[in-house]
């Protein structure tokens, strides 16, 4: 340095000494770290706030990742909790998805929207209409006897006015080579619960569908037995779908119309007996015939409904694990490329969703923490200036 100012020369000497001490310190840290890799001294930890360029970016990246992971965790936790809530609160009223048997339940349209205390409607809404993921937990709870009001009990109460048509659909994946055993076991289960196999179809002796008719009282037992069958044959339940259709209103309506028609028929008969002219007799007998036809129609519909209420339908799909065909691709244990991709996309979206939810929880906390930190810094700075 070209200066004749002594103070600056002294200061240079002082700074040189400081630099030398710092160098020794860095060297000792480096030794302590055991000759760090190619990054060498640049990677060394440093005193004070902040680090070197690359170092700091890594720190920032790590912090961001940590925040995102935390947010994701919180998101999953909160979603898990709210999901459970929805499952138990809205379970019964949920519309079944994807089942052929899941015909839209008229009761759900006719009934007052938010179940008032009319017992009939209430019961109708509580009739299960469970699908996919919630099915398992529901079935388990029901089996344990801790679940919602016994679903099978509703149609069982014959004195009760409530008429519910129940349909079940269950997909079972079983071990390879056990298809015929599975089918015969399903038949046995149907018979043991007082029902029968209405129809069945199979393909390649590896996949097939059986339609069972089971007394309504035994519906839940049968579904449980079918689930148990999956475990018995080293398989699993692939899907389950239970729908309940409340036909009470239709039942009552048909009954009332039937009464009216019957009264009308007897009135017409009386008139016919009293008739004197053949023209009158002919006209009346035509009317009686029409009325009789209507009565029979209604009677038929009522009988069908009674039958439906008395006996539930269960459709059982039995499939060997590696059975060929379009359904084989949906086996999550052996997913196809498309399925894998879809699963991946779903997973991705779920994680992003969870992170967004988690950030919603974190941001207010972070803002509050930032405010506190700011105040502390301000106070410290003031102290430093004051001292």
């Amino acid at each position: 340095m070209n200066t004749d100012i002594r103070a600056l020369q002294l200061l240079e000497r002082d700074l040189d000494a400081v630099a030398a001490r710092e160098r020794d310190r860095l060297a000792s840290v480096e030794r302590a770290l055991g000759d760090g890799g190619p990054g060498g001294p640049r990677r060394l930890p440093r005193r004070g706030r902040g680090g070197g360029g690359g170092h700091n970016w890594a720190g920032v990246a790590a912090a961001v990742v940590a925040v995102l992971v935390l947010a994701g965790g919180i998101g999953f936790l909160s979603q898990g909790m709210s999901g459970d809530d929805a499952g138990s609160a809205g379970g019964g009223a949920e519309q079944a998805v994807g089942g052929e048997l899941a015909t839209p339940a008229p009761a759900e349209k006719e009934a007052p929207e938010d179940g008032d205390d009319e017992g009939v409607t209430r019961a109708a809404l509580q009739a299960p209409s469970v699908s996919d993921s919630s099915a398992e937990s529901w079935a388990t709870r029901d089996a344990a006897g801790t679940g919602r009001p016994g679903v099978g009990a509703v149609p069982a109460q014959q004195g009760d006015l409530t008429k519910i048509v129940r349909d079940g659909r269950i997909g079972i994946v079983i071990a390879d080579g056990s298809f015929s055993k599975g089918v015969s076991r399903v038949t046995v289960i149907a018979r043991r619960h007082g029902g029968f196999v209405l129809s069945s179809s199979s393909r390649d002796e590896r996949t097939g569908t059986l339609t069972l008719r089971i007394p309504a009282k035994r519906f839940d037992d049968t579904m449980l037995a079918l689930r148990g069958l999956a475990g018995e044959l080293d398989g699993r339940v692939d899907s389950q779908n239970i729908t309940g259709e409340d036909v009470t209103a239709e039942f009552v309506d048909l009954g009332a119309r039937l009464d009216i028609l019957k009264q009308r028929r007897s009135l017409l008969r009386t008139l016919q007996n009293d008739a004197t002219t053949s023209a009158e007799i002919l006209r009346l007998s035509g009317l009686i015939e029409n009325t009789q036809l209507e009565i029979e129609n209604i009677q038929g519909r009522l009988n069908f409904l009674k039958d439906q209420v008395a006996e539930a339908t269960i459709q059982v799909e039995v499939r060997e694990r590696h059975a060929p065909g379009e359904e084989a691709g949906t086996d999550p244990e052996n997913p196809s490329l498309t399925d894998s991709f879809e699963l991946g996309v779903q997973g991705f979206l779920r994680v992003i969703g969870a992170i967004v939810v988690g950030l919603g929880y974190l941001i207010p906390v972070a803002v509050a923490a930032g405010a506190v930190y700011g105040v502390i810094r301000l106070v410290r700075r003031r102290d430093r200036v004051a001292s």
Binding site: L8, L11, V18, G48, G53
Partner: protein, 196 residues
């Protein structure tokens, strides 16, 4: 060996290689001293601020970021401005950064007073000084007048005031500091900015 690294490169290199900082010091020490001298009008204060600024720069060299528009010198002068502002608020220079690094707090060597004053161009502030002189004690004012307005050297000033040269220097130095603080308080701009 001719050092070809830029100020930014030196600052970044100094993280792992502390000696690189000394090179930065050699480049800018005198300019920074002049910067402080012209603003404080006081060699003692200017020297102290220079030392403290470099100490703080060294201690926080890891915080330097090579961003666009913030080259090494600008960063250094940023610290300097901050130090100067604190000096004007507190009326004194603290030695926190030097203490932190274990650097000694040195007295200004006698021969430096004049050399540092030479860095200050008194001409533009002479008028303002005359007005400000009223606020000084008699001793200070007399010393200031002899030294700054009459342009005598410290030997003569000391002789006229019947005191030691060191004493004369200190009177001038304290007087200048007081004036600088006063002018700063009144928001008067003493000098033009010198940093690049």
């Amino acid at each position: 060996v001719a050092e070809e690294r830029t100020d930014s490169e030196l600052l970044i290199a100094s993280r792992a290689e502390p000696e690189a900082f000394t090179e930065l010091y050699r480049r800018h020490a005198e300019d920074l001293l002049r910067y402080f001298a012209r603003r404080t009008l006081d060699p003692e204060t200017a020297a102290e601020l220079t030392a403290e600024t470099f100490a703080e720069a060294f201690a926080s060299r890891a915080n330097y970021r090579d961003q666009q528009g913030v080259n090494g010198v600008a960063w250094l002068y940023g610290i300097a401005r901050h130090r100067l502002g604190r000096f004007f608020r507190a009326g004194r220079v603290d030695a926190a950064a030097r203490r932190k690094l274990g650097m000694p707090e040195r007295e200004l060597p006698p021969e430096d007073y004049e050399r540092i004053e030479d860095l200050i161009d008194f001409a533009p502030i002479r008028e303002a000084l005359v007005e400000a002189l009223d606020t000084l004690s008699d001793d200070q004012r007399e010393a200031m007048r002899l030294r700054v307005i009459d342009g005598l050297d410290y030997a003569e000033v000391a002789q006229r005031l019947r005191c030691t040269q060191q004493n004369a220097r200190q009177r001038v130095s304290r007087g200048l500091r007081k004036i600088a603080l006063l002018l700063q308080e009144r928001g008067m701009q003493l000098t033009t900015e010198v940093e690049a």
